[in-house]
């Protein structure tokens, strides 16, 4: 049997998605629960997230010898996984479905609380940034990066992996006191969204010109990028199949 699990999690109290010995991870909690109800832990995930990063919509596929009713499985998992992880949908799928390879693109959102005072109820899920941001240069910069490109300057190196990614959409908007980026690409390299957010915020503050982002990208040199935005504002928002 091949199952598809769609789920959400608040990443604040996890050391990221990927399993690590002696640390609490989303994959660790999930596979421990799956082992109990399904006798299987061979999961594939759509997009790994770093420590403190959240998922509104994450997907894993898992194969198992046992056949179990999806509804029963979902309820059992939600009982075991506690409040931070919620399985929103669980279905039996064709054996060809693979959460990672079948996904055609991923959408992330990054949320900035852009006002003078922080909000204690958004401390885990927003970057509080007190200075005014001009969205025009931020959107201009994102527009210049659309399409296929080498993102080495905005990625933590991963040995043997291609740094070429294709960005379909990247748009900043204002929603009340929040400034929000929605970005969709075939896939993302490590820390790519947080690195682009940080670059844009510098531009939004008046530090540099939108064209700079292309020069940094073309140089393929991570030392030219200006760091990363905090993990807590980042959400894996949607996996597209």
């Amino acid at each position: 049997m091949n199952y598809r699990l769609d789920f959400s999690y608040d990443g604040s109290d996890f050391f990221g998605y990927a399993i690590q010995p002696d640390l609490r991870t989303v994959q660790g909690d999930l596979e421990e629960a799956l082992a109990k109800v399904l006798g299987s832990t061979a999961t594939h995930v759509a997009g790994r997230t770093d420590a403190g990063v959240h998922a509104r919509h994450q997907v894993v596929s898992v194969t198992a010898e046992r056949e179990t009713s999806p509804g029963v499985l979902q309820r059992a998992l939600n009982r075991m996984l506690g409040p931070e992880i919620v399985v929103t949908s669980l279905t039996e799928v064709d054996e060809s479905f693979h959460a990672r390879y079948s996904a055609v693109s991923r959408t992330y959102r990054y949320f900035i609380l852009n006002r003078q005072l922080p909000d204690p109820f958004l401390a885990r899920t927003r970057w509080h940034y007190r200075y005014p941001l001009d969205l025009a240069p931020m959107n201009a910069a994102m527009g210049l990066l659309l399409g296929e490109r080498d993102f080495s300057s905005f990625c933590r190196v991963a040995e043997g992996k291609s740094p070429i990614r294709s960005v379909e959409k990247a748009e900043w908007g204002r929603e009340g006191e929040e400034v929000v980026l929605e970005i969709t690409a075939n896939s993302f390299c490590h820390q790519m969204v947080r690195s682009l957010v940080r670059e844009c915020v510098e531009l939004g503050r008046g530090n540099g010109e939108p064209q700079d982002i292309v020069e940094i990208a073309d140089a393929r040199d991570r030392n030219l990028a200006r760091g990363v935005a905090p993990a807590r504002g980042l959400f894996l928002w949607q996996v597209n199949y």
Copy 2:
């Protein structure tokens, strides 16, 4: 000098408002910070909250020998208090102002996430209740409790304190997938809101009749009440002067 501080806090990681030795409390954090910037810790608070209860709007008054600019004080406190507590306003007030005694009433809100699935991002601030709730008997019961009354049945005993309270307003409403109580009284005894919420939720599920709540109140016997709703859904919403 007499100062008035208005502030918010996420109560999840505190052992309540009131200071306790060796435990992290809101008052403990606040007075530690005040001692540094003002050399004073003689605070009075509008409404103590229990472990896990939040405040959108809480007020303390504090007197100090030193005179300091309110803006400087507010920024210094916010730097020290970290993300869970945010001072939203700080003003110098007449010496007659007392956060507790000057308050004429308090408003609380209680939030229930009323749908099948929990939401990991609301786990700290909502009671997740999966069964349908009928608001009509819940509102009927609250209507029967308006006015001055002995709330012993809904309060944890506090030696030597009167259990008489006057409820001005108490109304349940539905906002999307949430069911929300707003309740205003001159003041509240210990666990009063959570006790009333629990009673109402039982009625909303069809367990009993609205009139029962008056009988329980009239008996002035806490053993007749059906327990308390979880702390995490409760917010001190507004202190009225």
